[in-house]
């Protein structure tokens, strides 16, 4: 967090940054982000993968802070690195199963996908060069603060905000419904269902 705050303080509000020190910080955080991301997708140990993702999100939070998005940076840490990743950890614990190493299937498909991604990047990168025709505008002093973003959220986007909160509610209910044990089925099918499920579970556990 120290690092994050330091990064936030060093950002000059008039441009994204002027001195070379932030650039060094940018490189560091970029390395954290990309390194974390790469580790995430290549880890076989699930817990390690989740932890790498947490690192990525911390790096991203720092990058957001460099973009003067202080509120979003804080959210990134709280919501993403905090809440969502805890959820992931829980699920990983519940599932508790490492990916068994076995030959990769659908190699050709994956190759095509990889080529597409590379091609996409090669097309995209030159466009990004021209994506910022003018200079960087100077933001107001309160740009990206909680007050500023809250003002916008509760005025301009009140409906969207409420819609999103409903969406979250639905998601919570849906998650409970999808993931819960189907007690009714057990009752209907009596002990048979449990008996059938038991040996399989024991086998899995003994592995």
């Amino acid at each position: 967090m120290m690092l994050l705050e330091a990064a936030a303080h060093m950002v000059d509000p008039s441009t994204i940054s002027t001195s070379s020190a932030p650039l060094i910080l940018f490189w560091i955080f970029s390395a954290v982000v990309l390194g974390g991301a790469i580790l995430t997708i290549f880890q076989t140990n699930m817990v390690a993968a989740v932890m790498s993702l947490v690192a990525t999100f911390f790096g991203l939070a720092a990058i957001y802070a460099m973009l003067s998005a202080h509120f979003i940076a804080a959210l990134q840490v709280l919501v993403y690195a905090g809440a969502i990743m805890v959820l992931f950890i829980f699920v990983v614990m519940v599932l508790n199963k490492d990916e068994a190493p076995r030959p990769m299937r659908g190699l050709i498909t994956k190759m095509i996908g990889a080529i597409s991604i590379v091609s996409l990047m090669f097309t995209l990168m030159p466009l990004l060069d021209n994506a910022v025709p003018g200079g960087v505008e100077t933001p107001s002093a309160d740009f990206g603060t909680v007050a500023n973003v809250g003002d916008i959220l509760f005025n301009d986007y009140l409906f969207a905000f409420e819609a999103v909160s409903i969406l979250l509610l639905i998601a919570v209910i849906a998650a409970v419904v999808v993931a819960r044990t189907h007690k009714q089925e057990v009752v209907e099918e009596g002990h048979l269902a449990e008996h059938e499920a038991m040996p399989e579970a024991t086998i899995e556990a003994s592995h």
Partner: protein, 100 residues
């Protein structure tokens, strides 16, 4: 000084890494995490442009994206738990029931 395009490059690369994760890994949890990576790449782009144009509306959008991502993660993980309960694994390449 950091040219703003650097942030865009970073976002593009992050997106690429996420996309690779989705197509390479067969573990559905990792795929979900890769999707989170791509969502964050999108968020980074939004915030960068918001900064370039000094427009705080971008932050509202990023906020929405985070909320939707949270909902997506919750439902996605619940589905995975449900699948796991039935099939004892969450390998996406074995979940091919929804086909012709």
């Amino acid at each position: 000084m950091i040219p703003p395009t650097y942030f865009l490059y970073l976002a593009a690369l992050l997106f690429a890494v996420g996309a690779f994760g989705v197509i390479l890994r067969r573990n559905a949890i990792i795929m979900l995490m890769s999707i989170e990576l791509m969502l964050n790449a999108a968020n980074l782009t939004i915030l960068t442009f918001g900064r370039i144009h000094a427009d705080p509306h971008a932050h509202a959008f990023a906020f929405m994206v985070i909320a939707v991502a949270a909902a997506e993660a919750a439902v996605g993980l619940a589905i995975l738990v449900g699948i796991f309960r039935n099939r004892r694994n969450v390998n996406i390449d074995e979940l091919t029931l929804m086909k012709y």
